[in-house]
Structures are given as C-alpha cells and as structure tokens.
Assembly symmetry: C2
Homo-oligomer: 792 residues x 2
C-alpha cells in the first residue's frame, strides 16, 4: 500500500505551480505569491517547496531568483528535496518527501504551501515519469503559469489540457502581461468562456540583464516584488484560492448528506443507511480511492482529511489497469474526438472492428466468429439468451409459444434485468421482484475451499453420496485430465444425467446451458470444481438426442457446431484476466458456443459488453424476413469511446501476460510440485495461481474458529466465515471484519490508509486489479491478518 | 450542409504539419520534406500550402526560409491563402480554400501535399478558433514538429495530447537533434513505448545569423537541404507516410468485408445484408459522419474517397452537441483522469451528485427527488418498472405472486431487454422473442399529422366515433387549456374509463401507467395528441379507487404523492431538448412519478441513464430488511465519465435555451398567431416549434400522392408515406426515398454530400442535433424536396 495520500488539511492551503512552458516565470510567480501571503495573512506561515530541479543551472537560477525573495521574507523556507546528483531517486521517494514536508507544515499551524514543479508540465522527473503524471496521487489543486511569449497561447492551452485530462483542478492561471502578443487577453477570454477559470494577469518583471551588476538585478526584483505583492489582482487571486480551498472541504463534507436525500442507491436498503455510512470519494488513483476520513467535523485542523482507501472490490469487479490511468483516458478521448458516438446498424468504424477482431483472437475459442455489442453484462446476457433460445427453437422445431427453460447451477447470477433474473433460481436478489419468474432447472454443484490448510472439494449430498475429497495443491484439483483418468467425473455424470432425464421426462424443454465458469460471483464468491462443469458441458453435448429429436447438426462441422444445447458462458466477471487468464473457460478445456464479456473489458473505465457467438448460432436468425433477425440494440451500441478503451485495455493486458508481469505472484507458492510457469496456452490448463500468496491463504484457512474456508484465484481472495445466521446474502457474519478493514491501519509516516471491501453475506472478498503490486498485496495481507486475529 | 469533406484521395498524400511550439522549425521541416519528395518521387508533383500566417513577420520569414527551398525546387507552389490584412476571414472560407487547393492538386495527378499550420497547435486562427480545433473536419493525418529547445519534451507531449484528444492521427514526429537537452532521445522512446509512433530525428540546421550576409545564410540552408533530403531518415519517414496513406485507404475499403464476417449487427437481417450495404465511417464531425463513397474500387485516383454524410438519425437519437465535440471530450477525459470508474454503492463522488442535482433542477418536476443511475434506456426502464410495481403492490397489499400488468399505449416501445419488451404490446420487435410475454393493456390513441397543409388529429374508431379534427396551427393542438375548455377531452375520458373498467372488472391488476409523452419513437415516429395523454393521466389519478381499495395516500401530501397508479414517463427519447424542451412532460402540463432519461443525457457521447422518482415511490422500498431494497445495479452504475459528460451537456443545452439559441428556428413559421417566443417556463405549454421550417412541413404534406402525413417537433421531422405493403415496421415504402437521400447531392465546389437517414417501415424521419444550423437545415430541405419530387 502506498502511504501517499492526497495533500488536504484544513490548516494548509497547498497549491502546486506548473508552468505552461519552461522559463515562463514560475519562480517569480511563486515569489510574488509567497510575499503576498506573508503580508496579507500575517499570523500564518508561508512555505515554498521545489521538490525537483531540472539541473544544476536551474537550481542556481532558482536560488538567485529566490534570493530576492528571501531577503524580503526570511520566514519562507526554501526546500529542494532532490538535487541533480540524486537523479536515480524513485517517484515514491519524491512523493513521500513532499507529503512529509506538507504534513510538517500543516502540523505547525495555519498557512500556505506553494510547490513548484520543474520545467514544463510534461518535463521528465528524475525517474523519467513526466511531472504531470508524477504528482496525480497528491490531488493538489494547480496554479498554471501561462506562457506570455510568442506561441504562448498555444502552449498554455495545451499544457492546461494535459493537466485537465489527468483530473487536475486548475484553480487559477497566472500570466505576465505582454504588450507584443496580447496572450493574456486571449487567455482570459478563453478560460473564462470554456472553463470559468480565473486568469490573473501580472505586470511583467524587469528584464534580467547579465550586463547589469548582480546586486542591481536583485534590487530591481526586490522593488518589483514589494509593489506587486500589494496589488489588488494578487490579493484577489489569493482570496479566490482561499475560497476554493474551503469550498473543496465543504463540498467533501456535505456530499454524504446531499447524497442521502437525492441518490437512490443500487443494492442498498436506504432505511438502514445513515449519511455517515456514505463515503465521499475525492478522486481515485491506481489501486486506491482517495476518501474523506470518517467524522470529518471531528478532525483537527492539523490532521489530513483524505486518505488512500484500497478499492478492495475492484469497484464492483471492474478494475484492471488502475484508476486514473492516462493511457485509458487518452484512448477514450481520442475516440471521442474522432467520432463522438456514431450509430452502428449498417455502418462500421475502426474501433468496433478492431475490438471485434482482438476479442475473437484473445479468447482463443475456435467456435466463435461473431461479435454483438451491448452496454453491460445484463444486456449482454439478455442477448446471449435470445441467441440461444432461438437457435434451440429453430433446430428442434418448437412452436413460438413453447415454454423454454434454461439449465444452470444453483446460486448463478447473470444480471439485474428481468430476463437475466429469470435465469437464476429464486433467491434474495429476485424473490421480491414483481415480474421475476425463474425459468430453469438449477443443479447442485461441488465447491472448492482451502480448509485448515487442505484443499477440499465439498460434494453436497444431492450429488451421489456427500463427501469431501482432499488435495494437497489447488493445481491438482484443476488437473482435469488426471482426475478424469482416475474416474472422478463419473458420479458427477450420473447425477447430471439422472437429473436431466427426470425433467425431460416431465416434458420440459431446455433452450440453453448457462454457466459462470469456475467462479460464481454474486452468488456468494464460490469456487466450483471445474471437473463438474466440464462434465456438465460434455454430458449436454454428448447426449444431444435428449433435448430434441429432429434436425441434428451436420457431424462434419462437429467442432464448430452446437450440440444438445447452446452452451453460454457468462464470463462477464470471470473473463479477461480476472482469474489470471483471458478466459475462465480455458480452465475447463472446452469452448462455449456463446461467451459474454464485460467489466474488465474496458480495463475498468466505461460500460461496454460483447456477446460472442458461433456461426451456427448466428445462422439460426438467417431468413428472408427482417422480423427473424435479432431485433436487439441499444442507442450507444459499439460506442467508439468504449471500443477504443477496450482495445487499449486488452492490448495492455495481453502484453503484460506475454511479458510475465505476474510471475512474482505465480512464484508465491502457487506454481510448484510439477506445476511450473508455462506461457504456452496448451499447457495452461492446470496452472492456477493468484496474486494472493499461498501462504496467506493457508494461514487464513487455519483460523478455523472464524473461517470455514478460503480460496484465491487470479486477483480474487474469498474468505468464507462461520455464520450463526446462515450463509446467505442477508447474513451479517462478515460485517465485523469488513468494518475492521475499513477502520484501517497507520503506517510509520503517520498517514493512515484503509481497505474498502465488500461482503456477500458471510463471505468477505478482496479483489485486486491487474496492476496491484506485490507490495500492496503484502500490506493488505498484514492488515487482513491483524483484522482476523483481533476478531478471534 | 458544409461542403467541406475530409482530404483523402488515392492520388494525393496530404499531411498537415503542426508545431509543438512556435519557432521549432515547421517551415524547415516542410522544406526538407518537399525537397525529398521531389527527388524521390520524380514523376510526381509536390505542393506546399500555408493557409494562414500569424502575421506579416511570420510570412516574410516563411518566404525567406522557403526562398532557399524555391531555388532548388521551383515546381513546388508556395501558397498562403490568408494574408494578415484579411484577419476577419471565416473558418469556413479557410477550410474551403484548402479543400479546393487540395482538390486541384489531386486532379492534376499523383503527388504530395504538405500543409503547414501557423504557430503552435493552439495558436488562434483569424476567427479566434485555435488551429487544432479549426482543421478537425479535414481529418488530415498530422506531422508534428517536436520542440528541441529547453522544455521541449513537455511542449511536444502536451501538443501531441491536444491533437490526439481531437481525434487526429499523428503519423510521425520530427524533431531536430539537440546536443544540450537530449529531447529527441527521450521523445523517441516515449512515443514508441506509449503510442508506437515513429520519431524522426533530423540534424540541426545551421544557425540563422542576421550578422551574416543574407545570401550566405541562404547558401548554408541550400547546402543543408541538399544533404538532408537525401538522408536515409527522411526517406524512411516518407516511405512510412506513403505506407500509412495506402494503409488508411485499404483499411477503409476492407472494413465492410471484415465487418460482414465478424459483426453481428443490431436490428439487422444479415442474410439480406451485403458487404456493399455497410458504410465505413472514417470519423465524424459536427452534424456529419465522414464516410467512404460507395464502390470505392471504382473511384478514380482523382476523386475524393470520403464525403460528409449528414447523421440524419442523430445516431439513433443520441446526438445533441455534435460529433467530435471537444468540450464533451475534455469532460470525459477529466473524469477518467480524476477517478476512472469508482463503485457507487455506499459511496458518493462529485460528478454523480452534481448530475443528480442538475437533473432534478432541469426537469422542473416538484414530485421527483430521487435519482437512480443505470447504463441505458432499457435498464433505466427496467428500474422504473421495478419501482412502480413494488409501490403498487405495497400500497394495494397484493401478494408477491399476484400477476401485475401495466397500462400503456399501443405502439409503445421501451427497450430491448425482456422486462421492457414485456411492457409493449405484441409487435414485430418482440413477437418472435422466445421469452416475450406482453404484460399489459394497451390503449388506442389519436395521432397528429399535417395532411395536405392542414394539422389534423386523427381519432381511431375505437375511441368513441372515428373522426378527424382540423387545426390551423400545431400550437392550437397543443393548447390544452383551450381545448379542455371546449370539452374536447370528454370523449377521450369516456373511452379510457370504459376500457379500464372492462379490464378491472375481469380482475386484472395494474401496477403502472407507462407513457412516452407526445411522441412514440420506435413505434413508428408518431405524434400523439397531448390532450389524450393528459386525459389518460388525469383519469388514472382521479379514479384511484379503481385500482385497489385499501391504503389510499395521505391527501395532505397530494401534490407529491402518487394516486391510482405510479405514472412512468419514458423520456429516454423525448426528453432533454429532443422536442425543444427539457421534458416532453411539460407539453402535457403534468408531472410523472417516475421519469427516465438517457440518449441526449450525455449530449450523444457515452451510455448513461437516470431514472428519477418521487419520495413516495422511494419509500415503498423502505424496511428493516435488506431484501426489500431495490436490488438492482450495474457495475458501472453512475460511472464518473458519463456523469461528467452529462453535466457538461446539460449545462450547455440549458445555456443555449436561455440564450435563445433556437430563436431562428422558432421564428421559421412556428411561433405566430398569438404563439410568441416565451422564455418563461409557465408560458411554455402551448409553444411548439421545430428546427424544420413550417413551410417545409407544409410543402411535404402537399405531396399527397406519396405522403400520407408529416409532422415536425423539436429536431424531428417524420414523413409518413403511403404504403402498399401496410404501415408496419416491415414495410419497404420509405426505402426509395432513403436511398435517394443516401445517393446525395453535389454542390458547386464539386464535393458531394449525402444524408444517412433511417426508416421505420413506411416512415422516413430526419433528426437533427441541437447544434444543427439553419444553413444545414436549408441544404437538407433542398435535397428532401428534390428526393420527394423525383419519386413522385
């Protein structure tokens, strides 16, 4: 966990000074501001920080410029953390040093802090990261010093845009008045009209002339500062900054109360929700939200108001490449600039076509050839159901009013629209929804957990005899070839066949088999025995004649044709590296006929879903009649912004996989005992790993007085707790642990951080993103251990 | 219609040269490139264009620099369209001049054209628009001349980003090699790593020294050019540009074939779709797509490959503020940078809260106090239905397995998910969907059309006696107070009450009244008599006891409480200025209990939906049980990108309304005969207008041999054509006219343009955006008249 939080204290108004270009007068502007605050806020302290200088010359320059300042105001400390000789220094060190300096100032009492960046906004820091990228986590409001030179209108607007698209709030633009080019007048109008941002025009400082005597130069500057700092424009600018500082805090503090009266929250019983329960998010960065501390009114002026909160649900399972990721932002903005949204029927645009090709390529399923776009997992599953039911009805020759059911697993969850709710057995989510009508048969399933240090497959009594099989390693459970060779699938097969026969004998018609491969998400974060799901698909495909007698498919097309039932894999949650691989289907070693992908599809930025289908499903809609077509489509179908972001995201994830970005995790106990790190897809089947170290999973499983079982795969860690009130969605067994993680930890530097996790009844899960680091995993693990130990 | 199309010819490789800053050597780079193309492509012509100079000095400078060039290559024409004395010249004039120059070059034969922009990328053009904004419609690939000076890394990256977020394709970055700062090395790595863009490093030209003799200066430059243009780096860069030019054309040409095999299109019978029917979109700008001409392989090398195509369906009814709108792009990018996506349950972020407040404020309905977010109109309507059904069931004390129906109008359409499909009567869209089950009673309705120059309300025979009422002006039809005073509502009332009683007597339970106010969209672009809808809502509210006997609401809360049935207005299509007002509900002079808004909500950029509800609806979910809550929510609920874009969009639209942005349209025949332009909301009720001139509507209505009726409101023009094959969705009556508009028009400059319109069976509609100009309306009207006249 990065100990760096945003710089926000009641006591301290912190502003970061960026320059629209190098040599536009950042240091002079800083000097004017420091001088003015010192005079106008006499009882307060003013501090100035230049954390990084671009070179020895730059630093000497600053000191000379500041020399004039220091003579006026010796109370202003001049700090330069990184000297040119320390160029190998890390970004984290810079951020930590800034944080500590600011913390010290805030503790010292009320005041101002101006932090001057080096060079232009994208000038590289010692590590190579550009200035604009480096400081995003600090969420510091920005003063942009405009460029008064020829071409300065352009560089000022461009610099502003580069800051804006990184989520910076530019609160004031300060620019020297030039008589030659009129930049300041244009910029004043431009920023007022487009953004309502104040532009402060400052008189031009006297020219620096090396022909003069150095002391004389300083004299001129002293004279300039002493006049300018008094001027109304500077006072107005500073009063504006003070107001904006207070407004920002007020807004953060008042958000929960407003939200409490205006927002209708998803999945929330608002009668039980108090304003204090609502967490205000200032921003988000990497793996963390930046959240307001609880009970802000009780926080002293010296304490930080914001802290990093680990986004422990990966923002409802969507996050892959980190919050505030510039490459995703730029992908989105490029498509917005090139197209906006363009309608999709009968047209084609590059982002949609490229994404379609990339998805078909990434998921490596030779059956699939068609891509249908929609907006989220629910709508993508509605599309999948429409596809499958039509294919079945056409093949088996059922009339249009035949009642068609789906086959699935108990605890499945496919979305919140009525059609997808109907695919789930009656449960807490749907049982009170007026139009819900379960239209299916749902099978029992065996699940996998690590219990007291041992990997167990827990088989419920409905499936043959109830029993528990133990394995020494999770990869052994996933080694389906060996287990099949041992005959472990045969009692699964018997159960599935007998259940199917029973329902078919009663005259039921099935139109689709729908599975969330390997993990049931909303159904309780359950890891399913992949051998069971593999067996289920095989039984359905190998017993096609059970489902309808006429029109069996052409056996010559066996490998791409659907058999028995169209098999839908709902990979909305499990796909695209959530379980460490492009698809969860690959764990089962088989290919669905329809595959639905969302959430991580856009790396976690905007809603988008693709439903992939085989040609044999697609052809079921072919006729001379328009009314036989799949008459489904949303206005923003295949919106270019979503498609472009998805392309960027998939490319990055695929590259990370190729580059071995997760080898650190794989080697944390997961790949051993003959299960080596393989990069070739054909050897992948039994390779299962998680970013959560095996040792952590083992340790948790040994806390048997509270923990009934635990598992980790990919970026998911799911802890099943003993529950006195039953294990369903309404259980409160995991609340204590959730609250403990939310109350957080203090690290040595004094910055607190916490974990924002979610529970599903008695299950607490923590979900990382695909860029969660080993260090973050370590910090989270420590807090988890503490939490569990305290709760014992 | 702007006659400006993108600059794309097989014959001519056109590149636009932007500078990362002023004085970075754009003209020298242009000279190097011109020289090199002239030598390497001996049989071709090279042209250079500088359309705007930033001042007399700049122009003199260019000429001097180019002087050296011109001595070498007199075949390169030097053109500077805009002289400093013509500063008031319009953007359109500049674009047109560029287009004509390029067209002339393309006609002359194979070659290259380099267009040099003035100053930095955001330097203002004569009209004040910045260079980067000015040229977007030309969709010209870009060469960015990097900044080799101190601070140049920053200005180059910033300039690149400002271009990228406007959809420009930067194909090559050229930068002089500096020994002091190493910019070129950093930039090379940076752009390769982040974007895969080639950076070409050029040797530094000899210093220009005014102390030298002018001729000597030229001598040095001549020497420099003659060497550099031969160099491998320049040749590689040019070969790369040639490849990219050809690749772009190949990609555009091959997109339809690839799409034909990979994409599963929404609402499309693909058996009837040929690759040639699929239109490739290169980009979109303002009101237009930029599309590839049909049969590109038949297009000569001299003909333009792309043309502007008016987005005549407003991209499935979503467009408001124009394609490629920078302010929407920057809003999206700001939120992406600040948050990415952040999960919404139990948390609050500024964009969601601000949007909630702004929506509640904008739609001016005192009943509504709660905002529920989802991703599109379908999901927002699913939410609305869940809300209403629960409220009814709780109030009327029905058991959870009671069959509850909705009350609606025939031809209604509320989305493509199963739940929303169930709200529509059986029709072409749903009748073949396996799980569709109409759960409602749908009433007949009277519609409004202009027929042979007269506004008629056509009342079907089911509603009392069939008859047609005529009005001289559409605003008279919308003057509900006067019409009610005349008693015109009474036979509507009788029909509604008797129908309701019949169904209630049969034991049916109703849970909601669902209406698309004023216009049925997908149901055939039908304008409904608002008096009928007003009467319907009033009947339901005034006869509450019909629907359930117990637990009537507290009459003290009359104005905010729901009565009889929760009234849902589906304003997904009709709301947010589509009909010229914030809501279509305002035409009816009444307030729904639930209101659903999407499409235009984000100005037409990304999917987002809000379902607004009254506190009395909200309270129906309040209990001590979590399972009583509205258990609905999508992963990207209230995604910050969508919310921020919606805020920007609503603010802009509201400001346009206040500033009288549509007064030109209102005065085109619509507001007359006592119906003046009012800005006060209370006087709005009967004020109805359209961007389509009344004279056009009248003229169309007089083409009675083809046209059965026509109407226009807001940005919609709907032409109902006589159909031999019936008036349903499957009718092909409007296909001829659609194809005629698609084949387009030629304007005097030789650039063709066309209209991409959509049909709904026998109805052809054209939908503008909220920024469609009077001139565009005029051009479209002309083509429409031509089309209709030719088809007679």
């Amino acid at each position: 966990m990065s100990p760096i939080g945003p710089l926000l204290w009641r006591n301290l108004r912190v502003y970061k000074i960026y320059g629209a270009n190098t040599d536009v007068g950042k240091t002079i502007v800083a000097s004017i501001l420091c001088n003015a605050t010192r005079r106008l806020w006499k009882d307060e302290a003013t501090a100035y920080l230049k954390p990084v200088s671009t070179g020895a010359e730059d630093e000497a320059d600053d000191k000379s410029t500041l020399g004039s300042l220091l003579k006026v105001s010796l109370t202003v400390p001049y700090i330069n953390i990184i000297r040119p000789s320390e160029q190998a220094i890390s970004n984290e060190h810079i951020l930590k040093s800034i944080y500590e300096f600011a913390l010290e100032r805030a503790s010292a009492g009320k005041g101002w802090l101006f932090i001057e960046t080096a060079g232009g906004i994208h000038s590289p820091s010692p590590s190579g990261t550009t200035q604009a990228e480096l400081y995003t986590a600090l969420r510091c409001p920005v003063l942009l010093v405009g460029d008064w030179k020829l071409g300065g209108i352009s560089s000022t607007i461009s610099a502003f845009e580069s800051l804006r698209i990184r989520g910076y709030d530019v609160e004031n633009i300060l620019v020297f008045e030039d008589t030659d080019y009129g930049n300041s007048e244009y910029l004043k109008d431009y920023f007022q009209q487009h953004y309502g941002i104040m532009v402060t025009v400052l008189p031009m400082p006297p020219p620096r002339n090396s022909a003069y005597d150095k002391d004389e130069d300083e004299e001129f500057m002293l004279d300039y500062y002493s006049k300018k700092s008094e001027e109304k424009t500077v006072r107005d600018a500073l009063n504006h900054l003070q107001t904006r500082h207070n407004d920002r805090i007020d807004a953060l503090e008042s958000m929960p109360a407003h939200a409490h009266t205006m927002i209708w929250y998803p999945f929330t019983q608002q009668k039980l929700l108090q304003p204090n329960d609502i967490v205000p998010i200032d921003s988000a960065h990497g793996s963390c939200f930046q959240t307001l501390l609880p009970e802000p009114s009780a926080i002293s002026n010296k304490q930080s108001l914001l802290r990093p909160s680990l986004d422990g649900s990966a923002s409802w399972w969507t996050q892959g490449l980190g919050h505030g990721n510039s490459s995703l932002t730029l992908a989105a903005a490029y498509a917005a600039g090139r197209y906006g949204h363009v309608m999709f029927a009968g047209m084609i645009h590059e982002p949609a076509l490229k994404l379609a090709a990339l998805m078909l390529d990434s998921i490596n399923n030779p059956r699939l050839s068609r891509v249908f776009f929609s907006d989220n997992g629910s709508t993508g599953m509605e599309v999948a159901i429409k596809m499958a039911l039509r294919a079945s009805r056409v093949r088996y020759g059922w009339s249009s009013n035949t009642k068609i059911a789906i086959l699935g697993l108990k605890g499945s969850y496919h979305g919140d629209t009525i059609g997808t709710m109907d695919c789930a057995e009656p449960n807490t989510y749907n049982e009170k929804v007026e139009w819900y009508e379960g239209r299916g048969v749902w099978l029992e399933y065996p699940q996998i957990q690590c219990v007291a240090g041992e990997w167990q497959v827990l088989v419920p009594c409905e499936i043959g005899t109830s029993r528990t099989r133990s394995f020494s390693h999770l990869s052994e459970v996933f080694d389906l070839e060996k287990r099949t060779a041992r005959g472990e699938h045969s009692f699964y097969e018997a159960y599935i066949l007998s259940t199917l026969r029973k329902h078919l004998d009663e005259g039921r018609k099935f139109g689709a088999l729908i599975l969330e491969p390997v993990v049931l998400g909303a159904g309780g974060m359950v890891l399913i025995d992949p051998l069971f799901q593999q067996t289920l698909v095989q039984v359905v495909r190998q017993n096609a004649s059970l489902f309808g007698s006429n029109k069996q498919p052409d056996s010559a097309k066996h490998d791409k044709e659907w058999w028995g039932l169209p098999v839908i894999f709902d990979e909305v949650f499990t796909g695209i590296y959530r379980l460490g691989r492009p698809t969860a289907a690959s764990f089962l070693g088989l290919h669905p006929d329809i595959s639905v992908h969302a959430k991580l599809l856009t790396g976690g930025l905007v809603p988008l879903c693709v439903t992939l289908a085989s040609e044999s499903i697609f052809n079921a809609f072919a006729s001379e009649e328009k009314s036989d077509a799949l008459l489904h489509g949303h206005s923003y179908t295949a919106h270019p912004v979503g498609c472009q972001v998805a392309i960027e995201s998939l490319n990055q994830l695929n590259s990370m996989e190729k580059a071995g970005a997760w080898n650190w995790a794989k080697s944390n106990g997961w790949l051993q005992g003959g299960y080596e790190i393989h990069t070739s897809v054909t050897n992948l089947r039994s390779q299962v790993w998680s970013i959560w170290p095996l040792s952590l999973v083992n340790w948790i499983s040994l806390q048997t007085s509270r923990v009934s079982g635990v598992w980790a795969v990919g970026s998911i860690l799911a802890i099943h707790l003993h529950a006195a009130d039953g294990s369903g969605y309404t259980s409160t067994a995991a609340e204590g642990l959730r609250k403990r993680l939310l109350s957080g930890a203090k690290v040595e530097s004094g910055v607190s951080w916490n974990i924002h996790s979610r529970v599903l009844g008695n299950v607490l899960y923590i979900m990382g993103s695909q860029v969660t680091t080993e260090r973050e995993v370590g910090d989270i693990s420590d807090l988890l251990r503490t939490g569990l130990e305290e709760q014992l």
